[in-house]
């Protein structure tokens, strides 16, 4: 019973923390640390909420969630003796369903992303050209402004013709440094589970906000890395030029409502860099994230 109660408490703590974190601003002062905290909260929430249900349901086995589940799956017998056991059975079904949904959603999102990238890669190989002025970068002939990274084992940085004419050489260099940072740090893998969860639970405001928050943090992390190699002011003007130039006719609701605010937040960080989060704060958050992420798997193993 203790494991179930602790797991339930842990799931609640994660949900509340996630809700608080969506509106936190200190995260902008340490994007990488904040991303790690988000990942830890996500994993722990998933394991704790399903684990709480399963721990309660499998309590009669007295072996913990992992071994209890193994025992249940080998015998496939679940003794219903008292009315109380029906509640346990309900918890078992709910817990297993939630776990299956989470796993399937993640796998489906991974597969869908993989397909979309493959299609994109094939199209690029037929259409994109190399430009001597920007070696290693693929250029698509389109007047609109676009710059992005197509992640994968061999990631590609792609820009449009419009970007080439929109930006000054210094700004272009800054944009490419930013995209290279995405490639290096595999930010796509950071975003994948949050995007998947958002598609699975489109009505959940917390999940939507979490995805948006992590998306912005990933951009800020890339900005931070880029500014080591380029002039931050050039990156800022490039951001502003992009935001205003990409005013293509867009379908209703296709754009994030806070796109403009996000661009301004990034620009302000670049132009007036505030003080980063003190090292010992970052260390505390880091240690907290690690403990949090380790706690749920441990609780899955504890009997009783």
């Amino acid at each position: 019973m203790i494991a179930a109660a602790v797991l339930a408490a842990l799931a609640t703590v994660c949900a509340v923390a996630a809700w608080r974190l969506t509106s936190a601003r200190w995260t902008w002062r340490a994007p990488r640390t904040a991303i790690l905290l988000w990942q830890s909260l996500g994993v722990t929430w998933g394991l704790a909420s399903t684990g709480a249900l399963l721990a309660y349901a499998l309590e009669p086995y007295r072996q913990g969630v992992v071994h209890g589940l193994a025992a249940f799956l080998t015998t496939l017998e679940y003794g219903v003796r008292e009315p109380h056991d029906l509640v346990r059975m309900g918890a078992l079904v709910t817990g297993l369903t939630m776990l299956a949904v989470l796993v399937v959603v993640l796998l489906a999102a991974g597969a869908q992303t993989f397909r979309a990238r493959h299609r994109h890669r094939v199209l690029l190989s037929l259409i994109a050209r190399d430009e001597p002025a920007v070696p290693g970068v693929r250029v698509v002939d389109h007047p609109g402004a676009a710059a992005y990274c197509l992640p994968g084992l061999k990631s590609q940085v792609v820009i449009s013709d419009g970007t080439l004419s929109l930006l000054s050489p210094g700004e272009l260099e800054a944009v490419l440094a930013h995209e290279t940072a995405h490639v290096r740090e595999r930010h796509d893998l950071v975003l994948l589970p949050f995007a998947a969860l958002r598609r699975a639970l489109p009505w959940s405001k917390v999940v939507r906000d979490a995805h948006a928050s992590v998306g912005l943090l990933v951009e800020m992390a890339a900005d931070d890395r880029a500014r080591r190699h380029c002039c931050p002011r050039r990156l800022a003007t490039a951001l502003l030029r992009f935001g205003t130039a990409a005013a293509v006719p867009t379908p209703q609701g296709a754009l994030g409502a806070s796109a403009g605010a996000n661009v301004m937040a990034r620009v302000n960080r670049l132009v007036q860099p505030g003080v980063g989060l003190p090292a010992y704060h970052r260390f505390l958050i880091l240690a907290g994230s690690v403990v949090l992420a380790a706690s749920a798997p441990l609780l899955w193993l504890i009997p009783g």
Binding site: A147, A246, A254
Partner: protein, 118 residues
């Protein structure tokens, strides 16, 4: 000898430039690399058809190939994804910056002028 990928690209360019469906032999004649074996051209045409980039019709004993969609249509598809306008919100790409709508664009424009004046 070109790589297969580059050859696919060359052949698509040829077929996009022509307005009529071509046979493998006609495509082969238009490729600059004269040493290319006719079977290689056929292989690549077949690959591109299977991937859905070419459609083919019977013409006597030969097949005639033409692009399934225009070059511009594929560019548009790439750009829709690049600008995150497909509505999918997937994590397929990481983009530099999002497009901004009317009133917000005005704020950014002002900020840009200020930054450039400093």
């Amino acid at each position: 000898m070109k790589g297969l990928g580059e050859l696919e690209r060359t052949i698509m360019d040829i077929l996009w430039a022509e307005n009529a469906p071509l046979t493998a032999r006609e495509v082969g004649r238009l490729i600059e690399d004269r040493d290319l074996a006719p079977t290689t051209v056929m292989t690549v045409l077949d690959r591109l058809s299977r991937k859905g980039f070419l459609s083919r019709t019977r013409d006597g004993r030969a097949w005639r190939y033409q692009p399934a969609a225009s070059r511009d249509a594929y560019i548009a598809e790439l750009m829709l994804e690049a600008l995150d306008l497909t509505g999918d919100r997937d994590a397929a790409l990481t983009r530099f910056a999002q497009a901004v709508s009317g009133s917000e664009a005005e704020i950014l424009r002002k900020a840009l002028t200020e930054l450039e004046e400093q």
